[in-house]
C-alpha cells in the first residue's frame, strides 16, 4: 500500500521531543487531512441546515449530506441508500433495533461481544450466550442447539475488538436462516467495516451497525444499515423534527426511510466527513487495506512472541484475525504497561476493552491491547517491543 502517513497530521506531533506511536486504532482511528478539510469545508462554505432552506448553501449542504449516504451505501454493498440510517455511533445503531424487542424475545449473542452489542439485548430481551472454542473461535456446530424456532435475533460481531477473531458471517447467517428463517441477524461491524471489504447483501444478514470514527471519519456519527422491509416495519426510535411528513394536533405521519429514524438536526459536518473517509478508503482500496493489516498483524504476532512473558489471546494466524492483539505480560498489570509505554508516547489500551463478559470467561482481569490501521508501521511495533522489554527491566 502507498505511504499514507503524511496524510495524518497527528503523526507529525512530537511529545517530549519524541514521535507518537499510535497503537489504539481499535478505540478510534486517526483522521486524514482530507476528512478534516471536508468537515471544515461545510463549516466555512455551506454551513446551513439540511432539508429546509430554499437557498443555495442549504441545498449544497443537503446534497453533500445525501452524497455521503450514497457513498456509505456503495461502500457496504447496500441495495439502496435509503437503507442507510445515520446515528450517533454503533451503540445507538444497535439500540435502535433493540428498542423494538420485547422482554420475552429470545436473543443469542456471542461471549466476545463489545458491551454495545451485549447490554442492549441483556436489558431489552432474553439473552442466550454463544461461548468460544479453545482456539478463540466460534464453534459453528453450537448453532444447532442455540438457535431455536423461538429465537428472535442473533447479534454477532464480525471482528472481535479484543481477540481479533473474524466471524464467518455469511456462513453463520446461512445456517441460522436454515434453522429458523424468521431469526434476524444483526452484525456489529465496528471493527470490520474500517478494515475489510464488507457486503451486507452477500452476508445475507438483516442489520449491520458501525461507527465513522473507527474508519478515519469524524466522531459522533454511526451507521445502521437494515433491509428495507424490516426498517419499514420498525417503529421510529426517537420522535421530533425531521422525522415527519405531517403533524396535526391529534396525529403525525412519519417520514419515509431513512429520515423516519433521523429525528432532529443530524451531525451534518460529521456525516459529510464520513463521506470523505469512505472516499479515502476507496482510493486506497479495501483489498490493500486488509493486506496491510494482515502483514502488520503477522509482524506484530511474531515480534510479541519473541518477548518472554507475553501471552497473546485469540486465533494464532493473522489471516483469521483483525489488526488487534490483546496480551498480558507476566507479573505486570496492564495498567502499569500502558502507563509506562506512554513515557515513550506509545499509545495502547489497557483494561477490559468494553468486553467484560469475555474477560470473565477467559478468567483474566485485564489485558493490554495494541491495534493497527493503515498508518501503522513495523517501526511502531518495534517501539512497542522495546517498550515492553524496558518495562520488564523496571519490574525485575
Amino acid at each position: 500500500m502507498i505511504d499514507v502517513r503524511r496524510d495524518f497530521p497527528q503523526l507529525r506531533r512530537r511529545i517530549k521531543g519524541k514521535p507518537l506511536v499510535y497503537l489504539d486504532s481499535a478505540a478510534t482511528s486517526l483522521k486524514p487531512r482530507q476528512v478534516i478539510k471536508k468537515e471544515q469545508e461545510y463549516y466555512t462554505r455551506y454551513c446551513a441546515n439540511v432539508f429546509r432552506g430554499i437557498y443555495r448553501t442549504s441545498e449544497e449542504a443537503t446534497e453533500e449530506f445525501e452524497n455521503a449516504r450514497t457513498k456509505v451505501a456503495a461502500f457496504i454493498g447496500a441495495k439502496e441508500s435509503s437503507e442507510v440510517i445515520f446515528t450517533r455511533n454503533t451503540s445507538e445503531s444497535i439500540n435502535l433495533v433493540a428498542s423494538s424487542m420485547k422482554k420475552t424475545d429470545e436473543v443469542v449473542v456471542t461471549i466476545m461481544e463489545h458491551h454495545s452489542n451485549f447490554v442492549p439485548w441483556q436489558q431489552l430481551a432474553k439473552l442466550k450466550v454463544w461461548k468460544l472454542g479453545e482456539d478463540g473461535r466460534l464453534d459453528i456446530g453450537e448453532l444447532e442447539t442455540l438457535i431455536t424456532r423461538k429465537t428472535r435475533l442473533l447479534a454477532i460481531t464480525a471482528v472481535s475488538n479484543v481477540l481479533g477473531t473474524i466471524s464467518p458471517i455469511r456462513h453463520i447467517c446461512r445456517i441460522v436462516k436454515k434453522i429458523n428463517p424468521n431469526c434476524l441477524v444483526l452484525v456489529d461491524a465496528a471493527q470490520a467495516a474500517p478494515h475489510m471489504k464488507i457486503n451486507v447483501q452477500d452476508w445475507g444478514v438483516d442489520f449491520v451497525a458501525f461507527s465513522s470514527h473507527k474508519m478515519l471519519g469524524p466522531t459522533g456519527v454511526g451507521v445502521l444499515w437494515g433491509r428495507r422491509e424490516l426498517l419499514e416495519q420498525l417503529p421510529p426510535y426517537q420522535y421530533g423534527g425531521e422525522m415527519i411528513k405531517e403533524v396535526h394536533v391529534d396525529r403525525t405521519i412519519f417520514a419515509d426511510l431513512p429520515h423516519k429514524f433521523e429525528a432532529g438536526t443530524p451531525h451534518i459536518a460529521g456525516v459529510i466527513g464520513l463521506g470523505a473517509a469512505v472516499d479515502y478508503l476507496q482510493f486506497l482500496g479495501m483489498g490493500a487495506v486488509r493486506k496491510h493489516e494482515i502483514e502488520i498483524t503477522d509482524y506484530a504476532l511474531n515480534a510479541l512472541k519473541s518477548v518472554k512473558g507475553v501471552t497473546m489471546y485469540g486465533p494464532p494466524h493473522s489471516k483469521d484475525r483483525g489488526g488487534v492483539i490483546a496480551f498480558t505480560l507476566k507479573g505486570i498489570h496492564a495498567h502499569d504497561i500502558a502507563q509506562l509505554l506512554d513515557e515513550d508516547n506509545v499509545c495502547i489500551r489497557a483494561g477490559h476493552h468494553c468486553a467484560m463478559p469475555l474477560h470473565e470467561y477467559l478468567k483474566i482481569p485485564a489485558t493490554a491491547r495494541a491495534s493497527f490501521y493503515v498508518y501503522t508501521t513495523r517501526q511502531d511495533i518495534d517501539a512497542l517491543v522495546i517498550g515492553l522489554e524496558k518495562i520488564k527491566k523496571i519490574f525485575q
Partner: protein
C-alpha cells in the same frame, strides 16, 4: 516517570503486611472492576488498629499503596483513619496522581475506611 519510583516498586515487589490474620475483627473487600483490582483488608482492632494484613491483586500502584497504607495506619484510631484523604495517599506515595490512576491509588484507603464504618460505635 516518578510514579514508578524506587519506593513504589519496592513495595510492589515486596509487599509489607501481605497475607492474612488468624482471627481478624474486621474483614473488608472492595474491587475496582474497571481495572480488575481487588483489595482485602483484615484488621485486629481494639481502641485502634492493632494489626493489619492485606491481600488481593492489581496494578503496581494499587498494591504499593495498600502496602504503604498498612504500615502507616498501625496504631491509628477510627477517627484518624476516617480523616485520611487523597492528598495523604499522594504524600505517602511521594508522587502526584494522573486522573486515570487516582482510583488505583485510593482503592486501599476506600477499603480501610469502609472497614472503619463497619465497626460498631
Amino acid at each position: 516517570m516518578d510514579i514508578y519510583r524506587e519506593a513504589i516498586l519496592d513495595h510492589y515487589k515486596h509487599p509489607r503486611n501481605f497475607g492474612h490474620l488468624k482471627k481478624p475483627d474486621i474483614v473488608m473487600e472492595e474491587g475496582n472492576v474497571t481495572c480488575g483490582d481487588r483489595i482485602v483488608m483484615e484488621i485486629k482492632f481494639k481502641v485502634g488498629i492493632e494489626d493489619i494484613r492485606f491481600s488481593g491483586e492489581g496494578c503496581a500502584i494499587s498494591q504499593a499503596s495498600a502496602s504503604m497504607l498498612t504500615e502507616k495506619v498501625k496504631g491509628m484510631n477510627k477517627v484518624q483513619v476516617k480523616k485520611l484523604s487523597r492528598k495523604d495517599i499522594e504524600d505517602m506515595l511521594g508522587t502526584s496522581l494522573t486522573p486515570s490512576r487516582v482510583k488505583c491509588a485510593t482503592l486501599p484507603l476506600e477499603v480501610l475506611q469502609k472497614a472503619m464504618v463497619s465497626l460498631k460505635p
